[in-house]
């Protein structure tokens, strides 16, 4: 597609349930990032995929968070046993390389009630 696509755009879930957030990067982009932005906060790095290299998972806040990138394209961020503090906008970005910056999706707004 022309841009980075994220789905769903909004998700309301009950505390304790699992959620899956999807990111379709721009075709051909080898790098993919997940970030989250909590209300009034900056962009918090979660995980980074680069080609076939082992992902940089250093930003995942707990073992309830995991992400996969299948076939070097689509990525899924999974949050297990959601908590209210997980409520945030989850942003995905992709890039061909570091030089021109990353293209961000519009994000998934997750609300845990």
């Amino acid at each position: 597609g022309a841009g980075v696509s994220q789905s769903p755009s909004n998700k309301v879930t009950e505390k304790g349930k699992d959620v899956e957030l999807r990111c379709d990067p721009i075709s051909g982009h080898t790098a993919l990032y997940w970030y989250r932005q909590s209300l009034g906060q900056g962009l918090e790095f979660l995980i980074y995929f680069q080609g076939n290299s082992a992902p940089d998972k250093s930003g995942l806040p707990s073992d309830r968070f995991s992400a996969e990138r299948t076939g070097g394209s689509v990525s899924t961020l999974t949050i297990q046993r959601t908590q209210q503090e997980d409520s945030a906008v989850y942003l995905c970005a992709s890039s061909f390389d570091r030089g021109g910056g990353y293209t961000f999706g519009s994000g998934t707004r997750l609300t845990v009630v």
């Binding site: 900056g42 980074y48 910056g101």
Partner: protein, 111 residues
């Protein structure tokens, strides 16, 4: 860990004047720096970048300056326009690692 810091949460300037947004970093392995602009309810959009081998990069009204010894970079917007009002994020990356963002500075350009 706050490896990238934007210490000013907000900045207000008059239209036509210069806007200067500042950013400090702690990780000496960072070798690529970027600025992003974000409007409400949208994802951030890439604005300008600079590699650590340079100390200045200019693109139209936007100039980024890098001071490696001080681990400091700044974004200059001149002249500032009301449409520049947005949140500006500084970001830094090291080869093979995730890009880290600052907390953002909300710029308001008053007509």
């Amino acid at each position: 860990d706050q490896q990238v810091k934007q210490n000013s949460p907000s900045l207000s300037v008059q239209e036509g004047r210069i806007s200067i947004l500042n950013c400090d970093y702690t990780n000496s392995m960072f070798d690529y720096f970027l600025w992003y602009k974000k409007y409400p309810a949208e994802g951030p959009t890439f604005l300008i970048s600079i590699s650590s081998i340079k100390d200045k990069n200019e693109d139209g009204r936007f100039t980024v300056f890098l001071n490696k010894s001080a681990k400091h970079l700044s974004l200059h917007i001149v002249p500032s326009q009301p449409g520049d009002s947005a949140v500006y994020f500084c970001a830094a990356s090291a080869m093979g690692n995730g890009m880290r963002f600052g907390a953002g500075t909300r710029l308001t350009v008053k007509p």
